[in-house]
Every structure is written in structure tokens, then in C-alpha cells.
Symmetry: C2
Subunit: 876 residues, 2 copies
């Protein structure tokens, strides 16, 4: 028997998501729940994989299985696919394992032809029939064949203009017939052959087009953003058409079972009578709030509410549904767990659903996307500046948050401005998937068209980017737009409040948000999850440390001491130190730096009090501190009693071919032990002083970077221990401290047992470890990563998301060897990955004690760590 | 009971070398063989390690054990240590596990004082007593206390000059007494206190000085050169003094049991009557050939010959001995396996000893240092040029081989010239250990003083550097020297034939040596060792390949295709290819390169015939091919129809921050598949053509560099396979080929199982693998390595000698994973380490199939591989 590649809805259920795709699994589930779903079948994700791996051919076997299911649809309806008298029309939709909204292509009304249209006209009216037909021609031509839809749209606009029609509603049956002819001609002109009339051929090609759309650029971008593996593939849903555009007793709608913006427990949605679902989503006509359906069709409304409630309780979460009413009869075309819910709404929904007995706290913790919390932590407008700001417009508050930036009108310009370091507000008539790259880098998005479920709104909420939609007051000029009497040119500042929908002129200062309410409650549950890793922060200043504490950090996992030397009053001293010709000169310069460094550490200790503080010794190659401007060389030379050329020559001598793998990290301490001595002195003296003054139990953790050898580690450890012992003895107070190492060189992982003999803790520096393990410099990876992602070799940037296969293997080796030697060894991570949820999951599984990340990522890390603990997986 | 740190000679034997040091173990062995050895004891290497690890203090326990042994010496001789009437005098000598000639310090006549000297004068004559005393004062002051011996030597010279003495032989007892007083004054002036008279204090301090001398710079340099770990430490031999300087019935000598230069079976040595051993070695007086001893003391001569024969048979190798005759009685002070034997002599000795039944072939293979073979392979003078050359002098042929270079007179100048890329001949009055760094970089060494066993001769033979010694005709000027009527200035060229002792004016061309005779016989045994790894070569041209074949290579393990593009007629095309703006332009440029590349490969195939040829696809970052000069940019721009600035800008855009980890290796093939296609075409087409023309069974091995991911490997593999299949099909001949990968990125090792699924062979690129594993760029490592070696963190450069702990661990992981997936996977190595003996040993243990190295290293690798096979060790 051949492998089963096609399932009728009634053969599936929600648990078969990997095989049937999310949409298909839910259609199957609903079918079996008795929800009114138009009948249909699913071509599986395995069929997609089979298609991709067998030379992009839809096998005869799969075609045969499809034909069998079509026969079942025909039997159920009495209609015939491709028939001239009673044609069966179907929709063809993609449905991947993970929802990919707006990313995949859809074909409606498939099965129509001249003959079928004529039959349809008899049963449902000519206007409807030819409207459906022209829609199909355009969609099929665009999506399946690749004829640009522009020429179709253009000719329709021209036609209406010539006729003096204001909108599609003025179009008569004859008009649609004429359009069908025009569209067929466009197709013929473009393709050199007639529009295909064979329904089966249409169907196979549409299915292939869905499979191919898995390979399109938008899909790649979306997958990259959402970490969806290419291998998953997509399923295809083929479903009997129901028509929302069969006149005023029909309609279509999209709805969320909870308020998307606030999370409030109220149905939230839009519908249009006499329209197909696409019309609602596209925002072509302004839709009606779902509540208004009650007056138009109370029975359908009541049924819809009941179904929504059943589905919520069934799936234990807010649902995102599509419905169609065909001649007063309600059909549900789709349900899925609501996505792209901002964290404010998400937390509210969770709180409510826990109270309503729909979900548990644990389910809530598992449900919230850690990355989404980011949005709660970002600034809001400064009240004072907000009051003084000029309000220039108001529209739909589509994605909450405050944003200010310079206006750009295309995705490309926005991306370019972002590369120049500008904050950007993208202003568009409406957005499309082609704008994704520009949307991704924008502080905020403003559109003139489209509603709360428009592309811009959905995508912006997904990104947590403030967004205002449907601002129809906007009048676009050549390189500017006008609103509220103000003309805003490209590059001018505006500010958006995505929570209120208000648009302001100028660049309004933003301030940090209050953290409390649902967030605080939720995070208290998160922190109570047993077996959760600790979460520390990377902080280089008392200010960062305070911010991180507010966000729930339990300590500092990384203080980079070098950042402290870039201040204007310190950098000249640092440079003098670096350029010193003798140890004596270097010591003199270090003596000048000591008070600054000590003050920094004291400030951090005062904020962190009894919490652990890990301080890393100087790490970067010294040439990073060198001036680039002539005047800086001149003043430095004067200060040092040398000529500018001498100073330049010395700076030049620090140049390295591969600085990433050069004279940096603990190698500096080996060459210049006096630097490590000064830093040890600053760390220990500051700790002693703050301990004496405030009584905190300070226990500094001194971290040696870039170790790769046990003797090297011991060498630096000896410097620290000797100096610290002197200082502690002199101060006459008891002060404990730990000495540990970064693990960021592959060799360190391989000899971690030896290093664990001279280190009390490890902290994985997975930024460098990833670069060295891949032999790939992040600074030079741009072109390479692009080509690798384009060629489907990498799914994304391994410095953003931990490579669990390669780098992870090294981490496992290091942990096994390290703990084998020293079972009490404390192990953490302080690279970028420490704040990235999937990487945090890995860290939990390998048994790390803590992760450390930037302050704004601390809540994300806390949640990800809790989710990992709940998942309960550990490597042995 | 305390640990035993001191052994009497009779308590030890030759097997205790690690504990007693080489010299001590042999003294113990000889004592127990009944050879006449002055009695003594050994302070062990463990005592040295104990001293170094316990704050550099000689423990009371060790002192007590030493005292006990001194008491035994006293009991045996009836003398008393530190006694005024019958003083026991001892020598204190270092003796490390591995012999370190000239590196460690020695103190003679220890135990002497004013009173002891007086007693000694009574029993052995005043002149002898005070000569011994002054020797002791100077040695002790210099070696133990650190008072420069220069002031002692200077005052002795002054004294002799004042007296009008030509040499030390004119000195009377009173003169020596006066000198003793002068020396004591020098000591007092320098140290602010009197010369120490307590014998025990002298002894402890002398032992400490030997331990400390393990830490001196010369010892570090020697250990670095000879891969001796710091941890081994040195033992100290304390031995009753016997005196060769007790008048004309006494004498000292050093000898080798075989001819050091030719290997001939004849005693080879020198002696001086009325002299201590140091006088012979230092070459202060010209010594007599050992044969002349027969007439002076036939009994001692006969005894010496007998002992030499016994020792050779006992140790199964030629011996390097020191002897002293005191009042006609022969003492053997030392024996050890002869070191610093050039390979010509070494092979002769082995051949003879096998014939004499002293050693087996297998023992011979184990005995020869693979690195020494290097010397056999180096050029000799071109006959024609040699005939025309002007001979300007002749002296001792101290180390064989031909060398030509510019003359420098100090080690520092020689080293500086070497850094400038000059070939250097170091010309010195005599050399000392301080000259080591200069000697190391010289092509040849010429000295005016000293014999065949002088420092210069011994060291030069060890290095395989041609050396001519004892050329007393040389007259030094201010910055030149005169010989044979010619004045040679600093920077002038001379040529040395170290095999004949002849010095030539000018720069004589050298030619490759004939390989045959003993070498060929020996290498045939080497290749017959069962279980030996294959040895291939790295060769980029037919010429290299032919040379490597001559040296016994079994195939090519690495052809670097990039080197082929640097020729003047190719580089412009390469540059055009790189700077092309479009794929079409790039393909056009590649089409121009194809014929060159194809011709190169065809030439190599023709040389290698049926042997395997591994060709690596383009590897380096493209900017390495860019011009640096303005005129090159200009001509390139003209050729490409662009402005020079455009070309410069494009070249600039190739700049990378860390090119080592940038856009190179297979990453180039991902970005520009057309490059890999062109190279595949050249490889396959050339193979097809040569196969057709010559009938060789050519099976190219195409190697993908820098892989770190399985999909990336598959991507490039697909390009190669597709193109190769096309070409093979079109040619209509059967051609097999392999596709494999370099393993040079840490991640490749960690996912080697996956990669083995798409590769038929692996070749470790341990150059890059070492750099990435250490996170250390070889280009930038100069300063770092210096500091690490100076601080005793690294023993040497890990890119020269494979790091078995870290990099080796990654290799083990890769082999285990790779063979686990594909048991037939062929695995080799093609980095620098492939020609380094200790690394080759590791490669054998981990189960590699072959090593590949540069042509001149092939014989070294063959021998090292055979030795590894004989050692028979394998990791599981």
C-alpha cells in the first residue's frame, strides 16, 4: 500500500499538526467537534517534503490520492469538479506547522471556467458568478502562474474610471463579464496561451504553487525571524468554497475571541456583508465591528458566540477565527490559537482565563512567548514633553508602545536610514510582505489604509513595534505627507503612540515604563517555578545594575571593565597606559586609572548589595582604545612628551591582522601583569571599603577572560591572589572572593577539567566561542551569512541563536569535564545567547546554574528559564 | 621515613634516568659495572622539582641526605670535607634527564679554602693547589654567586702581561697564590663580604645554583629547541675530584667511540696532559688527538679502549665519554650515548653496528632522529661554481654541509640580518651559549678558535648547520676579517663547506644532493616497517611533486590551487575574476583562468601517475590576490574598463577585520559556485586527458576547505558532482574521483559524523585548526608566544608542534565520529604538523591513514611514521 499523503478533514485531529499543518489540524478537529466547517481535505507536509526532495514533482501517487478526496467531496455535495452544469469550487490554502500569517499564498474559487461560470450564474446570479470568476483568474494567474496582478488591477481601475464607477459595488454582471474577458486576454498576452480550463490541472498547479511558496523570499524572512526550520514544509488545505459574497445575506469576517489590544474578554473582530474573507483582511473596504452582526443576523451571531466559547475551552486559549455566512448559514473556515498578541493583552488573557478556569498558572507560563515581554519594558513618552507636543492626527491604535523617529516612505529607505544609525518611522499607504525588512528595523509604523487586522497591524504586534493604522487623513506628496495641516518631509521627526493611536509632530522623549500589575503577578509565578536557573545581568555601571535589579536580576554575571575606560576623562589615561614604553610608565598611568575603576566598582557593589557581582578583567585588544583623529594623537603626544608621529607609530604597532584572535583577554595580563594587578586592587579595595561602610556581604567574582591553557590561567590567578591577599591583609577585614574564567576558546572546553582545577566558576562566553568554533568572524559575517541563508545552508545567525549541535557540544564537553574535576563548579553563560529563549532552554538542559544577559532581557530570561524548568528536560 | 632525594652511585642504574638524570644514571651504571669512576652521589630531579615548587628552598631533609652521602665519601677516601689537613674536594655538575650540552653549569674543586689549599699544596704541590683554588674561586663566584668572570679573567691577563708570561704554563706557585689573593679581593669588592670558606655552605649553594641554572635563558632556549618539558628538572651529581692537572703524569680528555663526522669505527677524541677536562672542551690550548695517548701512557690507553668497547656493547650505541688520568690512573668521569651526530655519521654508525652485531635494524630505526635527516636532503655546492670559486682558507670540518651567506660578527647582527631575509654566516672568535640565537638562524658558522668538540662544533652538528672551526688564520679587524690575503667585510658573501673545512670567497650556488647509499638502504628498512602510516606530500607544482617522489612520497595530500594564480601571467585574470560585478563577468574571467589551472593539474598527474592526488579548492580570502601598487590598479582598471578608483574601492570592500575567520574556503564556493565549477572542470578534464593520453589510473581527490556544516558541505559537493558528471559523461571515459573535506574548523570536528556522511575522506588542516582552537592568530602570535614562552606557560609554538591535549582531543572526536559514521573513511593530515615527528607520532596513535608534508620533510615523516609503528601505541 502506498504512503498516505492526503487526509479528509474527518480523518484528522488537532494532535496531527506536524503532519496536517496548524490550519488543517484545526479544521479536522473542528469537523470532528461538529462545528460547521465546509468539507475538505489536507495534502500533508510530508507531501511537501516529498515534492521538494524528489525534483519538485508532484507524484502520480499523490495526485491519485487527491483525486480520491475530490470524489468524496463530489459525493457529499452532489456537485462535480470541473463540471459545466453543477460545478464544485474549492479553495486552496497553505497551512504550515507553525502559523505563518500573510506569508503563504491562497487561491479561491478554483474549479471555475466559462462553462462553470455560466452554471454558477444560473444558481447564484450572474454578477456573483463573474465576480468570482474574475477573482479566480487574477489569483490563479498571480499566485500559481506568476503573472503580476498589477496589470489585472490596473485594467479594472481603468474600466471603472471609464465607467465613472466609485467602487466595485457599482459593477454589474455585464461589467464583470467584460472584466473576465479582459483578464483572460491579459493572461493570454502574457503567457502566450489560453487560461487553463481543466479543473484538475488547476488544482494540481495550485497545490504545487503552495509548496513553492514555502520557498519564496517572504517565507524565508518569516522563518528566519521566527526560527522555523525549512524542513518542516507546509501542508495544503483544499476545501469546498462557501461564498460570503453571494449578496447581502452573505458575508465574511475575522475575529479574535478576546480583545487583541487589551486582552479584555470580549469578542473582537470585523465583518463585511457581501464580501469574501480576503476583502476584510486586505482592508479594501472599511469593515464593521463584529457586534453589529447581531442586528444583521442574530442567529448566526449567537451561534458564532457559542462556537467561540466552545473553541476557547477546547483549545484552552483565545482563538483567531475566520467565518463566512453564505445565504445566512454560518461556516467556520479556520480557528487557531490567537497569535501576535502583545504582552499586555497576553497577560490579561492569561489572568482572565486562569480565573475562568480555562487555564492553569503553569499553562500560562508555558504559553507566554518570553521575547514578547520585551515590549513591556520599553519606554513610554515623557509626560512633560508629551503635553507640549503637537498632536497632528489620530487613527487606529494597532500595536501598543511609544516610538519616535525620522520619517521614511519605503522599506529600503527605512533600512538604509537604520544602517546609518537613525531611528526610523516607516510611513506607508499600506504595507505588504515585501515591506518586512523595513518594518523590522523601524521604531514605529504608520499606515494610511487598513484596519486592526491589516498586514501592518498584525506584523507590528508580532514584532512589538508601535503601530498606528488606517490613518486616512494622510495625503501623500512627492517626498512628504500632510496631516492636520502639517507637512512632514522625509527625514522629519514624528512620534507615535501605538497605545492611543495619536500621532505627534517632532521627537518626543521617551521614559522607562512602570513595571507592575499583571506583569509583576505573572513574573512572581515565573520565579516560583522550582528548579529554575538563576538569572543575572550583564551590567557595566551602577545605572545598568539598578535597571537590571528592577527587572529581577539576581546578580551580575558580567561587568566589562573596559567600557569604563571610554569616558572622555579616562580614555587619555588609558591611552597613556597602553602606549607606555616601560613598565614604570605603565604603572604610573595605571595609578591614575585606579581611582576611576575603584569608584565604578564601589558604585556597582552599593547597588547590588549582597548579590553576586562578576567582574571580568580587561578583555579587548588594546588598539581598540587608540585615537583615530589627528588632534587626539597630538594632544596625547603632548601629554606624553612625545611627537605625534611617535605616538602614531606605537599605535600602529598594535595593529593586528586578526585582532579577534590576537593580543587580548588574559593574554594582556600575561604580557602586562600590572594591569591585572591594578584591576584586582580596584575590585578588592572597593569591596573592602563598601563592606566596611555599608556592611554588605560582598564577595566579588573575578573573571579571567579568554583562557585556553591551565598554566596561563594559573599565571593570572597567581597575580590576582597575590595582590588580593596583600590588600585583604592590609585592610584587616575578612573578604572572600572567587576567581573564575570565561570559557570562550574551544581549547578551554577541551581542557576544562584542568581549568576547573584552578577556577571556582566558569562563564561561557558564547559570542566568542561561537565565532571560534565556526571559524567565522561576526564582524565579517554579513555577506557570508546572507549567502548561507539565501542558499538555505544556515537558518539564521549562530551568534544570535546558540548552535546547539556544534558549540553546544563543546559546552557539554566543558561541563562534563569541569564538573568531573570539581562537582561544585558554578557554571553560567554571559554571551548574547544568555537572553535568547531557545539558547536558555539549552543552558537549562546542560545544567547551567545561571544565565546572564543585558538588563532589558532579564525578564525574558526569567520566563525562558521557568519554561525550561517546566519542560523538565535535561541531558545526562 | 622521609622521601629519598639523594642516591649514592652504587644505589642507582641506567634505568633510573628520569630520577637521576642521564649523567647520574650512567655514572651509577658504570660504577656497578666496575668501570673506574670517582665515587659520588646524585641529588635527584625530584629534589629539583621539590626545590622549585616549595619557594626555591633546599629543604633540611634534603640537606641531611646530602650530608649522609658526603660522610660515605669521607669514609671511602679517609679525607674530610672542609678539613684543613686532608680535604675532600668534589665536583658539582648538573645532569638532566635529556642531555643538555653546554647548557648547565659546573663547579669543580669545591671544598677548597685557604687551609685546604695549604694541605693540598703539601700533598700535591703548591702550584697545583693554588691553581685549583683560583679556578674554584672564579667558578664558584661566577656560577653560584653570579659575579661576572670577566673581572677575574681580566686581572689574570693583566697579571700575566705584567709578568711577560705567554701562557698559564709560565705561572709559578707564587703567581697562583697572588692570583688567589687578587680573586678573593675581587669577590670581596663585589659582594661586600669574604669568599665563603664553609664547605657545606659551598656545596648547598652550588647545588642550588645547578637547580637555578635549569631556569636560565640558555636552558630555556635549548629546551624550546629540543622539546624538553620544564617540569623534568635536573639532577645534580656530586663526585670526588680527580685531577688531570697534577703535572705531566695527569691529563684529561673527551672522546667519542666513533668518528663524529664520518661515523667510521675509530676512537675520536682529544686530550691534554696536565689539564682539567674543561680546558679540553674550551679549546683554550690545542689538544692532542686521542691516539697520541698510546705513546704517553700505553696502559691507560689500552684500558680506555677496552672500557669504550664494553660501554658501546653495554649501551648498544656509540659513546661520548670524559676521562681523567690522575697520576697515571685512568678515571671515567662520564659516558652517554653520543649526541649531535650528523645523519651521515649516524647512518654509518648504525650500518656498522648492525654488522658488528651490536644493534638490530629495528633499534637503528628507533635510534635515528627523524629531524636529522633534513641535513641529508639539503643542497651541496654546484660543481662548476665551486671550481671557479676562490678558496681563502681551510680549517676543521666540524659539521658537514654547504652554506653560503653574508658575514656577520655577532649573534645579534646575524639574527637581525636573518629577520631582513638575508642568508647569514656567523663568524666568531669562538662561540658561547650566549650566541645560541644567532647560531640558530645562520646558514653556516665559522670560528677562529676551538676544536671538533668546541661549543660551536657541537651545537652546529646538533642543528645540522655547516660549521668550520679553529680557523686560526683569521685576523679580525674592526668590522671585517682577513684570511688568505682577502679582507671580508661585514655583509660580504662567503661560502663554507662543512664537510671539507674549506672556506670560499663569494656566494657559491648550491645544488640538490644525491640521495643514495646508506640513506637509501636505511629508508628501505624504514618503509618496510609494518603498520606504518602512508606519507604524502604537499605539492603545488609538477616540480614539487617530482622532488617529493624522489624523497619517497606515496602521493599528494595537498595541492593548493591558489598558489597557481600568483604567476605574473595569471594574477591579472584572477583579479578580474574577483573584481567582476556580475556572475557573467566572473564566468568570463574564470574561462580565461581555466586553461592555466588545467595545465597545472595535467602536469601534476603526469608526474604522479597512478598515485593519489588531492586537490583543494580555492581557499584564501580573495583580497590576498589584490594589488597593492598604484600602477597595478591602473593597469587592472584599464583592462576592466573601469577607473582605478572604482577598482580600488571594490578591492577595499573585500577588506575584512579578521580575514582568517572571514570569506574564504568553501564559503567562496557558496558565494561564487562558478569558481568551484571552473576548478572542478580543470581537475576532471585534466584527469580525463592525461588518462586518455598516458593510460594512468588517475583518481583525483577533490578537497573542500574550511567546512563547518553538513549542508554547506553538501552544497559544494553538489556543485562538484554535477559538473564532474557532465564532463565524465561528455568524455565517454570512466573516471572515478573522491570528494572529501579539510577538517580545520573546530565545529567540523564536533559534527564529523554528519560530514562523514557526505565526504569520502578527511584531511586535518591542523594549521587553521590549531589557530581556531586556541583562538590565536599565527600572524599576530609573535609577541604573545614570546611572553608565554618567557613566562613558562607554553613550551613552544603550538602551530609548530601539535597540541595533543586540546587540538588532539578535537581530532580524536572527529575521527571517532567520522569513522563511526563511515568506517572506511580515509583520514590524513596536511598541516605543518604532518612533517613534525612528535605530531606524526600522535597521528599514528589516533589511527590516521597518512600524513602529508612538504617535499623536504617526506623522509622525516617516513622515519617518524616507522618509529611510531614500531612503538606500537594506539589510542582506543
Amino acid at each position: 500500500m502506498s504512503h498516505k499523503y492526503v487526509y479528509m478533514f474527518k480523518e484528522g485531529d488537532a494532535s496531527m499538526r506536524n503532519l496536517l499543518g496548524g490550519k488543517g489540524a484545526n479544521l479536522a478537529e473542528m469537523t470532528n467537534m461538529g462545528i460547521p466547517v465546509p468539507n475538505g481535505f489536507i495534502v500533508t507536509t510530508e507531501a511537501c517534503t516529498h515534492y521538494n526532495s524528489s525534483g519538485k514533482v508532484l507524484s502520480d501517487d499523490i495526485k491519485k490520492q487527491i483525486d480520491g478526496c475530490i470524489a468524496q467531496l463530489e459525493a457529499g455535495t452532489g456537485k462535480k469538479f470541473g463540471d459545466a452544469s453543477n460545478p464544485l469550487l474549492v479553495s486552496v490554502r497553505s497551512g504550515a506547522r507553525a502559523s505563518m500569517p500573510g506569508m503563504m499564498d491562497t487561491v479561491l474559487n478554483l474549479g471555475i471556467s466559462d462553462a462553470a461560470a455560466k452554471a454558477l450564474a444560473k444558481s447564484a446570479g450572474e454578477s456573483f458568478a463573474y465576480d468570482s470568476y474574475r477573482r479566480f483568474i487574477m489569483m490563479f494567474a498571480d499566485v500559481v502562474i506568476g503573472v503580476s496582478k498589477h496589470s489585472f488591477e490596473h485594467s479594472l481601475d481603468e474600466y471603472k474610471e471609464k465607467k465613472g464607477y466609485a467602487s466595485d459595488e457599482n459593477m454589474t454582471a455585464d461589467d464583470w463579464k467584460a472584466i473576465v474577458d479582459i483578464f483572460k486576454k491579459i493572461y493570454r498576452d502574457d503567457q502566450g496561451k489560453d487560461f487553463p480550463t481543466d479543473a484538475k490541472e488547476q488544482l494540481y498547479n495550485a497545490i504545487i504553487a503552495v509548496f513553492e511558496s514555502w520557498d519564496n523570499e517572504r517565507a524565508f524572512i518569516y522563518r528566519r525571524k521566527h526560527d522555523i526550520p525549512y524542513e518542516w514544509g507546509t501542508a495544503v488545505n483544499v476545501q469546498e468554497m462557501v461564498f460570503g459574497n453571494m449578496g447581502q445575506t452573505s458575508g465574511s469576517g475575522v475575529l479574535f475571541t478576546r480583545d487583541q489590544v487589551t486582552g479584555e474578554n470580549r469578542m473582537f473582530g470585523e465583518f463585511l456583508m457581501n464580501a469574501q474573507g480576503e476583502d476584510v483582511v486586505a482592508g479594501v473596504r472599511t469593515a464593521n465591528p463584529i457586534e453589529e452582526l447581531e442586528s444583521k443576523n442574530p442567529k448566526a451571531y449567537k451561534e458564532l458566540m457559542d462556537i467561540a466559547d466552545r473553541l476557547e475551552r477546547h483549545y484552552k486559549f483565545a482563538q483567531d477565527m475566520e467565518m463566512t455566512i453564505e445565504n445566512e448559514k454560518l461556516y467556520i473556515l479556520q480557528t487557531r490559537d490567537a497569535k501576535s498578541i502583545g504582552p499586555v493583552a497576553m497577560l490579561q488573557i492569561c489572568m482572565d482565563m486562569i480565573n475562568e478556569g480555562i487555564m492553569t498558572k503553569e499553562e500560562a507560563i508555558k504559553r507566554v512567548d518570553p521575547r514578547s515581554l520585551d515590549q513591556l519594558l520599553h519606554p513610554v513618552f515623557d509626560d512633560a514633553e508629551l503635553k507640549a507636543a503637537k498632536q497632528i492626527g489620530k487613527a487606529l491604535a494597532a500595536s501598543p508602545g511609544a516610538a519616535a523617529g525620522r520619517v521614511y516612505f519605503t522599506a529600503a529607505d527605512a533600512a538604509a536610514a537604520n544602517e546609518r544609525g537613525e531611528r526610523v518611522i516607516l510611513v506607508r499607504l499600506e504595507t505588504s510582505p515585501d515591506d518586512i525588512l523595513g518594518m523590522e528595523v523601524s521604531q514605529g509604523i504608520l499606515t494610511a489604509r487598513g484596519g486592526m487586522t491589516s498586514h501592518a497591524a498584525v506584523v507590528a504586534r508580532g514584532y512589538g513595534t508601535p503601530c498606528i493604522c488606517g490613518c486616512e487623513d494622510i495625503k501623500f506628496g512627492k517626498n512628504d505627507f500632510t496631516i492636520g495641516g502639517e507637512t512632514i518631509k522625509e527625514g522629519d521627526y514624528i512620534s507615535l503612540n501605538g497605545s492611543t493611536g495619536i500621532i505627534y509632530k517632532g521627537d518626543i522623549k521617551t521614559v522607562d515604563p512602570e513595571i507592575g500589575g499583571n506583569f509583576a503577578t505573572f513574573m512572581s509565578w515565573v520565579d516560583a517555578v522550582p528548579g529554575k536557573m538563576g538569572v543575572r545581568t550583564n551590567a557595566d555601571s551602577p545605572k545598568d545594575a539598578a535597571k537590571a535589579l528592577e527587572f529581577g536580576a539576581q546578580g551580575i554575571g558580567l561587568t566589562r571593565t573596559e567600557h569604563m575606560f571610554f569616558d572622555a576623562d579616562r580614555i587619555p589615561k588609558m591611552r597613556k597606559m597602553i602606549l607606555a614604553d616601560t613598565e614604570a610608565e605603565r604603572r604610573a598611568a595605571l595609578d591614575e586609572l585606579l581611582p576611576f575603576q575603584k569608584k565604578d566598582f564601589a558604585g556597582i557593589y552599593e547597588v547590588m548589595q549582597d548579590r553576586p557581582v562578576t567582574i571580568r578583567l580587561l578583555d579587548p585588544p588594546l588598539h581598540e582604545f587608540m585615537p583615530t583623529k589627528d588632534e587626539d594623537f597630538a594632544s596625547l603626544a603632548k601629554d606624553m612628551g612625545k611627537t605625534p608621529q611617535q605616538v602614531k607609530d606605537r599605535a600602529e604597532s598594535l595593529h593586528e591582522l586578526n585582532p579577534m584572535m590576537g593580543h587580548r583577554g588574559c593574554r594582556l595580563a600575561v604580557s602586562y601583569p600590572e594591569i591585572a594587578e591594578m584591576q584586582t586592587r580596584a575590585i578588592i579595595e572597593a569591596a573592602i571599603e563598601v563592606k566596611k561602610a555599608k556592611g554588605y556581604d560582598i564577595k566579588p567574582e573575578i573573571m579571567i577572560p579568554l583562557v585556553g591553557d591551565v598554566k596561563e590561567t594559573r599565571f593570572v590567578r597567581d597575580i590576582i591572589e597575590k595582590k588580593a591577599a596583600e590588600l585583604v591583609a592590609a585592610a584587616g577585614v575578612k573578604l572572600e572572593y572567587l576567581i573564575g574564567t570565561m570559557i570562550e576558546i574551544p581549547r578551554a572546553c577541551l581542557i576544562a577539567d584542568d581549568i576547573a582545577g584552578v577556577a571556582e566558576f566558569f562563564s561561557f562566553g558564547t559570542n566568542d566561542l561561537t565565532q571560534m568554533t565556526y571559524g567565522l568572524s561576526r564582524d565579517d559575517a554579513g555577506r557570508i551569512l546572507k549567502d548561507y541563508i539565501d542558499n538555505n545552508i544556515y537558518e539564521g545567525d549562530p551568534t544570535a541563536r546558540l548552535d546547539q549541535t556544534g558549540v553546544g557540544e563543546l559546552m557539554k564537553i566543558a561541563i562534563k569535564k569541569g564538573r568531573g574535576k570539581n562537582p561544585k563548579l558554578k557554571i553560567g553563560i554571559c554571551g548574547e545567547h544568555g537572553g535568547e529563549p531557545s539558547s536558555i532552554g539549552f543552558c537549562h538542559k546542560v545544567g547551567l546554574d545561571y544565565v546572564s544577559c543585558s538588563p532589558f532581557r532579564v525578564p525574558i530570561a526569567r520566563l525562558a528559564a521557568a519554561q525550561s524548568a517546566l519542560a523538565g528536560e535535561k541531558f545526562d
